[in-house]
Amino acid sequence: MLTDKVWRAAVAIVVSAAVAGMTLGACSSSGAAPKDGRIAVVAAENEYGNVASQIGGRYVSVSSIESNPNTDPHDYEVSPGVAGEVSRAQVVIQNGIGYDDYMSKIESASPNAKRRVIDVQELLGLPDSTPNPHLWYNPVTMPKVAKALASDLGSIEPVHASYFKANASKFVASLDPWLKAIARFKATFPGTPVATTEPVADYMLEAAGTRNLTPFSLQADIMNGVDPSPEAVSIQDGLFSHHKVKVFVYNQQVTDSLTQSFVTAARKAGIPVVGVYETMPVPGYDYQSWMLAEVKALYRAVAAKVSTVRL
């Protein structure tokens, strides 16, 4: 009898707490839309959000979903608050290639004919089977994103179209130091052999003319969080112990006991380590300065054997 009462009381408490929690959650997610007339932009990753702020300037309010440089964006799980933000956004930027699948799901769950979606994969005309989703490391990506942003923002607020366009040109011009640094690296150290943990910076490494000796299957397994094959692991170990690579490019945001053991092996062999990021490290960086810092770190590693584990 008594236990029966206790049970009922317990159930009542749990249910009311759950209901209260849900209501609170619903309230907190409703205040995100800007009421000051600025265009609401939501970016799945903060590097795209950063470019959107540079193009939109004072006429946009940008929020980025993934901005924690200490977590693995591939494992992101969406919360109800984020869904609300995306459904109210006027411009959405997403990477595509399965990197942020949840965005398309939220968009189709809350249809809005007026919302403009910039899908970077589509923008670059890449197939779904593209093995490396880290498109923002590719020097050709952001100029196209900037132009698409300027045109979308301009059609939402035609009064400021020329302002957005000017910002886009300014942004594209500001990428110059980065492109020059890549070209300089390529000219000074052509065909530099490198090892990586993940394909995160592979587009940039390719542009810099390096040869990535890590088997792609290993990079993909680490990226996807599944067990790598022993063959691939021992090929990678050999790259360090036999000094076959000049630098080890290591994804800060995705670590496990295996990547740690690679860092240790690289250190032991005296091979400099360069940490790269999937999302823009904040505070302190914008997209351009972040990319430039990565190339400079790579240059220092090969030229002076200096490690840059964290930017």
Binding site: N70, T71, D75, P228, E231, T255
Partner: protein
């Protein structure tokens, strides 16, 4: 001998670092699981054994948050759960399943929370696969002494308790009448079980570790009723399944052009089942002949 096996064994198998480690650790794990598992089957505690392994997922996933090897997490959680089971009274079959079920649910819920925190608040990758399905090729060599100590203690406990444990497993009443401290012996066995399932959790994963605990032991007990022989056979069959599993996982790298091997846990568990079915068929044939 090795040269004759060349068509089956892809090049570099024996000189591969991760493979050597997997064979060493996998061998220890299989022996411990076989010895302890024989008692699990004789005592009719397969469900408790499986639950213990699943409960360990909460510890394994918490270990990632603390930045230590999941082995310690598995073991701490398993020991805790084994203590709880002993207190609840594993010997009473009805209360046992109920209590085990409730504790199991709570632990898996905790594991869900910890795995969520692992992926959303740390840079850890692959924790889910690692905890649930194991990651024998990415073990750190620094873990070998720990595995050896864990394995040694578990085997030592089972050998030390062999006679009274066997008696109380077959008939608790008879054992009690012969002045065996049934409860103490049972507790000692649970500690050995906690060691066994945590070891096998790092090899083939918490979810699958029962396969190595129950499978070879059940197979051995189909073939012989002599407990000592069954234990030896269970250990041998476990080692066979594990080593062959490692070999097949290594070879599978060359099966597809994409150079992506299949998970070793799948091969080990599949081989355990194949061995069990083969023993079933063998026994059926033998009985028909008699």
């Amino acid at each position: 001998m090795v040269a004759g096996l060349a068509p089956v064994i892809e090049p570099g198998f024996f000189s591969n670092g991760p493979v050597q480690l997997a064979l060493t650790v996998g061998g220890v794990v299989a022996v411990v699981s076989g010895l302890v598992g024989t008692f699990t089957v004789v005592r009719g505690q397969s469900f408790a054994g499986h639950s213990l392994a699943d409960i360990g997922t909460a510890g394994g996933s918490a270990a990632f948050l603390l930045g230590v090897s999941p082995l310690y997490g598995f073991f701490a959680m398993n020991l805790l759960a084994a203590g709880a089971m002993e207190l609840i009274g594993l010997r009473r079959p009805r209360g046992r399943d109920l209590a085990t079920g409730v504790v199991l649910g709570a632990a898996l819920g905790l594991a869900a929370l910890f795995l969520y925190l692992d992926t959303t608040s740390t840079s850890t990758t692959g924790a889910t696969i690692n905890v649930l399905f194991g990651s024998i090729f990415t073990l750190s060599t620094s873990l070998v002494p720990v595995v050896a100590v864990f394995g040694g203690v578990a085997v030592g406990l089972v050998l030390l308790l062999y006679r009274p444990l066997l008696l109380s497993s077959l008939s608790a009443d008879l054992a009690a009448a012969r002045a065996v401290r049934v409860r103490l012996v049972g507790a000692g066995y649970l500690v050995a079980l906690a060691f066994a399932v945590s070891l096998s959790a790092i090899a083939i994963g918490a979810i699958l570790s029962t396969a190595l605990l129950i499978g070879p032991a059940a197979t051995a007990l189909r073939l012989t009723r002599r407990p000592g022989l069954a234990m030896a056979a269970a250990a041998g069959l476990g080692v066979l399944a594990t080593w062959l599993g490692v070999l097949l996982a290594y070879d599978s790298f060359y099966w597809q052009p994409s150079s992506q091997g299949w998970p070793v846990s799948f091969f080990v568990v599949a081989l355990v089942v194949v061995l069990f079915l083969a023993a079933q068929a063998f026994v059926a044939m033998r009985e028909r002949r008699v």
